[in-house]
């Protein structure tokens, strides 16, 4: 679809620009300001230049060590949940019934975890996994697996990952399902005439058609898992020790717990920069993919 050049369109965008700038740029300026200063309380600030940034990127210091460790944990967490949720989401989408009331029922049940407040998601799994009162914890322990997410690192990780799979796989599945629904029946009929195997249908028809939505799914899942805070905080509180402390949890600890504004601000900026870069890469890939398929846009 050709778009006409019209600079007056800025007037239509202006309200959005202003409201987002108010919530994004203004606070970020405060963060930049803090990141260059040190404070001993009482609103007295001292110029610290790039000191916090140097410390942040140097693993031998306390701040740097904590940041890099939590970053590593966070990246590992994102990789694991993507590796589970994307294939599982595709399989579930392929298993959806084709029509009738069962579709609506499945969609509603699948969307349910997405609309539960994140701290309640944490609470649900906190209860569900407890060895004394939770079904999962009790069942695991009674079949002889010594499971306790409060004291065992591996169990804590397993709980947080299973919780995330529970919480977000539906998103991937719903996106893929939307992609599958847009495939015209003619494609399948053609495949049948050609005698294509199920696997061939999947790789040659279904997967390419899901490309675009899968990209959105991976982007959203990566970003949201990279800034995860509430759910693991409620379940494990970042523990045992620091084993499930992700970047956001570390950041909130420094900013609102210790009130170390300079350190927290420097961490925020680096954190935001990483997200911006990843986001830019995805955006470029996505718009390129969109340009290739431009004629099909809006065929939904």
């Amino acid at each position: 679809m050709d778009k006409t050049v019209n600079q007056k369109a800025w007037f239509l965008v202006l309200p959005v620009f202003l409201i987002v700038a108010f919530s994004a740029i203004l606070p970020l300026m405060t963060v930049v300001n803090y990141s260059m200063q040190d404070t001993f309380g009482n609103n007295q600030f001292f110029w610290n230049g790039v000191g916090w940034f140097k410390e942040l990127l140097d693993p031998t210091t306390d701040l740097g060590g904590r940041f890099l460790a939590s970053l590593g944990r966070n990246l590992f967490f994102s990789a694991v949940i993507l590796a589970i949720e994307v294939p599982l989401g595709i399989v579930v989408a392929l298993s959806m019934p084709r029509e009738g009331w069962r579709v609506a029922a499945c969609l509603v049940i699948m969307a349910l975890p997405l609309l539960i407040p994140w701290n309640v998601v944490g609470t649900i799994w906190q209860i569900f996994g407890r060895p004394d009162i939770g079904l999962m914890g009790y069942a695991l322990n009674s079949i002889g697996i010594n499971y306790n997410y409060v004291s065992n690192e591996f169990d804590a990780w397993a709980t947080v990952i299973v919780m995330d799979v529970w919480h977000w796989t539906s998103l991937v599945a719903l996106l893929c399902y939307a992609g599958l629904k847009s495939i015209p029946d003619a494609y399948y009929q053609a495949a049948q005439i050609d005698g294509a195997s199920r696997w061939a249908v999947f790789t040659a028809i279904q997967l390419p058609k899901m490309n675009r939505v899968l990209l959105i799914a991976v982007l959203l899942r990566f970003m949201d898992s990279f800034m995860i805070y509430t759910e693991p905080f409620v379940v494990t509180g970042g523990g045992p020790g620091n084993s499930t402390t992700f970047v956001s949890i570390e950041l909130v600890k420094i900013a609102l717990g210790q009130f170390d504004l300079g350190k927290a601000a420097a961490l925020s900026l680096v954190y935001n920069l990483i997200i911006l870069i990843v986001c830019w890469i995805f955006y470029t890939v996505m718009t390129n993919a969109g340009a290739e398929r431009a004629p099909e846009k809006g065929v939904a």
Binding site: K3, S23, P27, I124, Q192, M227, A255, Y271
Partner: protein, 268 residues
């Protein structure tokens, strides 16, 4: 044809996996604390409504729900009304810096709330909005407005532009065209966008908790406080959790036919 072998089993297992933890929460909300702590029962043997009664009669509990709903509704209305014209502009016109602007908006959807918690606290304290629903509603605009623009842009783009041109030839002014023709055409898109704004505002806790203290305390903050203060009142906690699921479930029911397309953000 787009089915795979064993699909019934896979799907059933997945749905059971989704429902089991929720069932456990509902189950616990109808139990007394003695039953929860002393025995392991798969369903409440002495069902009780005491937990729910306490929430509905204690103001510090039920006001939490009202506070949450207040900022969620304000945020949804703000986000949609700001995003609609912008979505139209992005879909129909090219203008200076449009691509960069769109990317910048998108990047705000991805910004971690933890980064903004402290500066927001300072900002909204400075303009005297701290501890009001407006502070939370405006703060949630940070990620909901870009999301709404993104979704609505997809839906506006699926309206053929000949319709715009015909309307303008018929003498419609821009605002009249917008309200009388475009908005009804993309009504389902607006519904989907509103659903998402509702959803992300409803589930967010970190900013909502940071920007309120007493008067506008959201339900999620009330819950966290009670967990640590009153020891472990598991039954009450479970009942409060169940009540937070209900608004979401109701909203899903209304948009069930658009869910799939909505989650693809209008771009399938």
């Amino acid at each position: 044809m787009h089915s795979i072998p064993g699909r019934r089993i896979i799907l059933s297992l997945f749905l059971i996996f989704l429902l089991l933890p929720i069932y456990w929460l509902v189950n616990m909300s109808f139990k007394t604390n003695t039953e929860i702590v002393t025995t392991m029962t798969l369903w409440p043997h002495q069902p009780t409504l005491a937990n729910y009664m306490r929430i509905f009669t204690d103001e510090s509990w039920y006001s939490g729900y009202i506070n949450s709903l207040k900022y969620v509704v304000i945020n949804t209305v703000l986000s949609i009304s700001f995003a609609l014209p912008a979505a139209y502009a992005f879909s129909r016109y090219r203008f200076l810096g449009d691509k960069h602007l769109f990317f910048w908006l998108l990047s705000n959807r991805m910004a971690p709330p933890a980064v903004f918690a402290l500066p927001f606290f300072n900002l909204y304290s400075a303009i005297n909005l701290f501890d009001t629903p407006w502070a939370v509603a405006l703060a949630h605009c940070l990620f909901n407005v870009p999301l709404a623009v993104w979704i609505l842009e997809g839906f506006v783009s699926s309206v053929p532009r000949e319709i715009d041109e015909t309307a303008f030839l018929d003498g419609y002014s821009f605002p009249r065209f917008f309200i009388k023709i475009l908005v009804p055409l993309i009504a389902s898109g607006i519904g989907v966008a509103a659903f998402f704004c509702f959803m992300f505002s409803w589930v967010e806790l970190l900013l909502a908790r940071t920007l309120t203290s007493v008067n506008a305390k959201p339900i999620s903050a009330v819950m966290t406080r009670t967990v640590s203060a009153s020891g472990m009142d598991w039954g009450l906690l479970a009942a409060a959790g169940v009540l937070t699921i209900i608004p979401g479930a109701l909203v899903i029911w209304f948009v069930r036919n658009y869910i799939a397309r909505g989650f693809a953000l209008g771009r399938v």
